[in-house]
Subunit: 237 residues, 2 copies
């Protein structure tokens, strides 16, 4: 937790000592009354927090904010629903690296049970976005959808998006050989890959199929590698 993030509505209320951020301030950063720390307003500016009082049940905090909020990112990810532990890693690391939106869609080869995970039903997913942003020292969270169809997600992409689908099996070229300009959409199948119908849909909707070499990478590793390559091509890494 390099940056401690707050919702706008949290700024005027005491922070309960049961909140993990309070425990982090007191026990890891060892802050006491009068001390400052790096704070951020979600999707807003970064700044400094000050511990005003340490009460038995809650901390009172005050904030001063810098002027600038982070610019939107230019990459959208489409991800066939993976097993929940893989999704957690992708949620955190994609947010750390920087994406504008994450769309987890029910792919034909996704295990149906994955959509019922508490990760999605309980809203736990947002905690992993916050962890990724706090790690990366940014306030910017991607927007997220889950459970839409691939066709619906594709229909929601802005006109002019460079669309690339990662595919180990039917790709004529490496991702690094694809010409990309912002905004970019990167699509990943689930662990068991794309179905024939999904490949047809992707091609019909203007997606270029590209691979990441002959090696079979874990899904979360492929997401990090592809994001790094595209962000480098866009001059961002």
């Amino acid at each position: 937790m390099n940056l401690i993030l707050f919702e706008p509505a949290e700024l005027s209320a005491p922070l309960p000592r049961s909140d993990p951020r309070a425990a982090h301030l007191l026990n890891v950063l060892r802050r006491s009354a009068g001390d400052t720390f790096d704070a951020g307003l979600i999707n807003g500016p970064r700044g400094k927090g000050t511990v005003v009082t340490v009460g038995p049940d809650a901390l009172t905090l005050a904030f001063t904010w810098d002027s600038a909020s982070p610019a939107p990112e230019s990459i959208t990810l489409l991800i066939g629903l993976p097993r929940p532990q893989t999704a957690r890693d992708i949620l955190r690391e994609a947010t750390s690296l920087g994406v504008d939106a994450l769309h987890f869609f029910a792919a034909e080869k996704s295990e149906p049970g994955y959509a019922q995970s508490t990760l999605w039903a309980s809203g736990e997913w947002r905690r992993h976005l916050l962890a990724g942003a706090e790690q990366a020292f940014t306030t910017r969270l991607p927007t997220l959808t889950h459970g839409q169809s691939l066709a619906a997600v594709i229909a929601s992409l802005p006109a002019g998006t460079t669309c690339v689908a990662l595919d180990n099996y039917e790709s004529p070229q490496a991702l690094s050989a694809v010409a990309v300009a912002a905004p970019v959409a990167l699509a990943f199948g689930p662990e068991r890959g794309w179905s024939a119908a999904e490949r047809d849909l992707l091609r019909a909707q203007g997606f270029t199929l590209a691979h990441l070499g002959q090696r079979v990478l874990r899904s979360e590793t492929a997401v990090i590698a592809a994001l790094a390559i595209v962000r480098a091509r866009l001059g961002l890494l």
Copy 2:
């Protein structure tokens, strides 16, 4: 485990049923006598294994090998000793993506206790290289050293190596802007970063300092991202 790897010395002996590979063959792949599976000889060819007999204590296996062994990789990583759990992820993922050698050196800001981890003392590290190779469907394991000094590791690099050190703080340019040609050495500090003396040594030894953008990435994520960018630049991803 997309590929099951064997040491040369293991080929002529029965595989004990207590071996995780035997459990994988019987319980995950559900192979029985007469069935085949994808096998590899470490640093040698891939091929097919056949389950000949399933005994109460061991499996008898037979193998046929393709002719080609994988080519050596062209990237060496120098990594300031990180905490062991981070090192495990780096061992596995760097092997999956493809590196020639991994050198974990005792950096000035490495926690001294990290070098005493059972990860290194017990030889456990090799298990993570095998897991990365089995995931990536390759037989190639990187060579590995741990506990050397940074100066000793640098002295071991072949002449003509493109040397780049990742640094969030004193880098004039992004990694993607550095001209690279094989072979490449990529150096990463430990979680707490490089010391001033280490930066002086790296610069004196011809390393270019480069960053991965303004965001603070986890060490394992930075290794994957940097490897992806450099492999893409070398035409490998």
